[in-house]
Symmetry: C2
Subunit: 219 residues, 2 copies
């Protein structure tokens, strides 16, 4: 098994998403050029990415959309279902619980933990909220594969340390902090506020530059 870069894995996800849309539209075969163009990459990149995992497509005929979808789902570990726990039943956490596409994609949120005693024992989108103190035990008894962290930033590293100590090896972080995990634990971050603020920063500063005239000072 070759070591595959994160950016390659990201492109495989994009290929899969595009192919799934095309399949819904009734498309049956596709050239690497057509796939590349829709993904903002090159046909050579598409062929190189796929060649890491086997031989796909026929010369002159392109890829079978259905076969390539099946192969990508297998490569990405999407042929099975994953058991997911959510830590933090605040606004973002509950929105994620209600996000049906997770389930469609094979990710089942089967446990929720919160440290607010007022929430413990209630249900959110049908899932029982458990006490934070039961975290380690719940991760074990529910055979959790992936933990979604949606707690305030100041609590996030402590939660992650407990989750990692409990043996979980995949974390999706929505808390607005940079988290540290040991080697062998996969960590991904999603933060809309940070992305929006990067846009706001870009707009605010391009505006200042243009008001100052055409010569950017100090660059």
């Amino acid at each position: 098994m070759r070591k595959v870069s994160e950016s390659t894995v990201g492109r495989l996800s994009l290929y899969l998403r595009l192919l799934s849309e095309l399949e819904t539209d009734g498309v049956q075969t596709l050239s690497s050029e057509a796939l590349a163009q829709r993904c903002g990459t090159t046909a050579a990149q598409v062929r190189k990415d796929l060649s890491l995992f086997g031989t796909f497509g026929k010369r002159g005929l392109g890829y079978s959309v259905a076969e390539l979808i099946a192969a990508l789902r297998s490569i990405l570990g999407l042929e099975r279902r994953w058991r997911v726990a959510l830590v933090g039943a605040g606004r973002i956490g509950v929105a994620l619980l209600g996000y049906q596409d997770f389930r469609t994609q094979g990710f089942d949120i089967v446990a929720v933990f919160d440290r607010d005693a007022g929430k413990v024992g209630q249900r959110r989108h049908g899932v029982l909220v458990r006490a934070d103190a039961e975290l380690e035990q719940g991760l074990e008894s529910e055979s959790i594969d992936i933990v979604i962290v949606a707690v305030p930033g100041e609590s996030a590293q402590a939660v992650v340390d407990r989750v990692v100590a409990a043996g979980v090896r995949a974390i999706l972080n929505f808390a607005p902090v940079k988290l540290n995990v040991p080697a062998g634990v996969a960590l991904k971050n999603v933060n809309m506020a940070v992305e929006l603020e990067a846009l706001s920063y870009a707009l605010a500063n391009s505006g200042r530059r243009s008001r100052r005239g055409a010569t950017p000072a100090g660059r």
Copy 2:
């Protein structure tokens, strides 16, 4: 004005988020060490990032939380409100419309566009859905600063091309594709499915490796 890297801007967002949480908790002053530790970085990095924008904090006293929040809000362009349009009133788009934190953070979604005639004329979370054909005119008349793209991947580049041609310089993309924008246009991407699939890939493959034994093959 210095050229500031994207990762610096990202850290400024994290500092702001952490400081806002601490202010809510009643914290009034903070050392660069304490801020760094909570953000998963070093005190030297915090001081370097902030020094790009002026002099903050007093030796031995640390930063005033309120003053640093105000400074970061100014730097990030968050002292004003931004007018945002959403293109695509599907599942993700409507979830974003309902996400109250956007408004709290100064981002007002004031226009929604969709190409589904069945949705046009209806309201989603109080905002009128307009026809896709009115996109350019609406971006202009509503003085839109930022466009959120939440359309299927195969339509996203065409939408972005129109948005850019209409003069918008900041785009937040939720479509599962890599988009191309000209220099001078800020583009950020959010894609939960891609992040989740990267985790699923990591789990699926670490599992295979460990079953093969302790010596990773082919690395």
